[in-house]
Symmetry: C2
Subunit: 352 residues, 2 copies
């Protein structure tokens, strides 16, 4: 079976993907990750209106600084969509207007299986099959369902430790990766999937350094996707207050929580049932737990929004700091290129 890097010929094994973090993963971050032999993802998220502009910015970066080994028929990056909230027609239109579509499209959080199937078909049709379909799942049931409706080229297996949105009911990668891979392979072995293209598997959630990457390879994954680690990339579109809060947080199992408190305060509505966002525990969360009324908590949150970088930080933080449990392993800002090389073990990190 061909290695996953064969499908993305500018990449180096083990494959490192930059997760499409809404508002944070822009053209510069994607370009930097792909330039280092990983695969960067632009985050379209729920809002496709800025996609064409972001793709065009990426194309300018690529012209100025080409990526060796990139094929001529696709852009050497991917684009991530939050399926329940994004407009498929706009996405398909943006892609069909491009000379080359992105090498991969990452689909997350459909409101139904049918919607996931429509997206997979719609994207394949708009890109003449050139964009590989990546589907993010966090349990076995969703994975088997995705095979049935979307025949993914790649599964992104999201573990419970992941930052930002994910399912409450989930397991860590240590048990989820092997069980999910076995279940999907066995489904294909029974002749139930498209046997000519069994999927590859990328693990995400709790990985922040070379040790995490080697662990998920041992579990059977073909590569790793990371969000939290790239929050501390120089190219991330992120406020200094947010980035500092990531650098300062330790003991992620204690200091982060998956909750809908942040969605509610930010006025984010529409996530399908069962999803919450993992972020660093802050005053908004602890006030909500203490029983402070939503109205009062929202007022305090809005005031923090007006405070700029001062809205984050120990003891006074109310601004949302989405991050995974690996947040304690993120201790310095670096270029995305150096982060990718560290993850592959090409740059050795002094730890203590």
């Amino acid at each position: 079976m061909a290695s996953i890097t064969a499908s993305y010929p500018w990449t180096t094994a083990p494959l490192i993907a930059g997760a499409p973090m809404r508002l944070i993963s822009g053209p510069s971050l994607a370009h930097a990750i792909s330039s280092a032999g990983g695969i960067g993802f632009l985050a379209a998220g729920t809002d496709v209106s800025t996609l064409s502009e972001n793709l065009s910015t990426f194309e300018s970066l690529l012209s100025a600084s080409p990526i060796p080994g990139a094929p001529s028929d696709v852009l050497p990056i991917g684009v991530g969509f939050i399926v329940w909230g994004a407009d498929l027609n706009l996405a398909a239109k943006a892609f069909s207007e491009l000379p080359e579509p992105p090498a991969a499209v990452w689909l997350f959080a459909p409101s139904s299986s049918e919607e996931l199937g429509s997206w997979a078909n719609g994207i394949r049709s708009a890109t003449k099959g050139k964009s590989k379909i990546w589907v993010q799942v966090s349990c076995i049931a969703d994975a088997i369902d995705a095979v049935r409706v979307a025949d993914p080229d790649v599964f992104v297996i999201q573990g419970a430790d992941a930052g930002g949105h994910g399912r409450y009911a989930s397991a860590g990668l240590i048990s989820l990766v092997p069980e999910l891979i076995d279940a999907v392979r066995s489904y294909y072995a029974k002749g139930s999937g498209n046997a000519s293209s069994p999927p590859k598997f990328i693990a995400a959630g709790g990985i922040a350094d070379e040790r995490g990457v080697n662990a998920i390879l041992a579990l059977g994954a073909d590569g790793a996707a990371l969000g939290t680690r790239f929050l501390a990339a120089e190219e991330a579109v992120i406020r200094k207050g947010y980035q500092d809060a990531v650098l300062n947080a330790v003991d992620g199992g204690n200091s982060t929580i998956r909750t809908d408190v942040y969605d509610k305060l930010r006025g984010t509505v529409g996530w399908p049932e069962g999803y919450g966002g993992r972020g660093v525990i802050n005053l908004s969360y602890s006030d909500a737990v203490k029983g402070v009324s939503f109205e009062e908590n929202e007022k305090l949150y809005k005031a923090a929004e007006g405070a700029g970088d001062e809205g984050w930080g120990e003891g006074k933080a109310r601004m949302t700091t989405y991050a995974g449990t690996a947040v304690g392993l993120v201790k310095k800002v670096a270029t995305a290129g150096d982060i990718v090389k560290e993850l592959r073990g090409e740059i050795v990190v002094q730890r203590i």
Copy 2:
């Protein structure tokens, strides 16, 4: 630095430990695990009254079937205590009456740091320092605290995926193992710990096959401890209904939950705040979530208790089935010896 197997000379790398599961990990299971080159643990749990009898049974098994490489000054097994509920004086007395104490004593869930310190000192004193002190933790803060009061020989790093009792606030092994190891090593590097004996690290929670073992080695751990996988050992003291429920459960992130519902129904009181037990979701749990009154739920539970193996099983289950998220990787009953060899990769398992 000497490898961890040097301290337990009958063992083979990578070190496989059988977790001390209350009521389930008895002398036969411990003997079978240690005989295969792992280290079995007897579960004293909260009740030390059966410890002497269990140790004596183990000694008979050992006489009948000696373990090659076992040293003469310790028994080639460990004993696990749930510290908040166990009686240190009784434990110390049981050990001092033995010709040889166990090679390791595993301490879990103290109600305070002081209590953990007393246990570590008390056991070291009763066994003349022959029993190594293993301390189970699931966050960085508890680990640093344990170094301070107990100077553990071994940390058992328990991830959120572990079955049975553990802290609600926890991370998966993928991020917890590297962060905890870095934090403890850096504490020792600052001269804050006993520099002559920096601890070793055993990872537990979500590991069920060779892939999980290799993953935690990649994360930097020295060995793996497993509970759920040994629920399906021939030598486990377990009802067939419970064992079948483990074999049948899949998709552990969906099918298990950490909760206090089972403790309440079973009348288990005394766990320190912040601990819950992960088990397979059953009717007791779903009724509790649905709002069935405790009295009614308890009545239904007691009726199930009287139903023997019929108290478990799809759709009718009310008996508690403590298990971790790796439950979906446990598909067959085997001897504990074969399980240990599979975990070390000496027996190759056909997966699909």
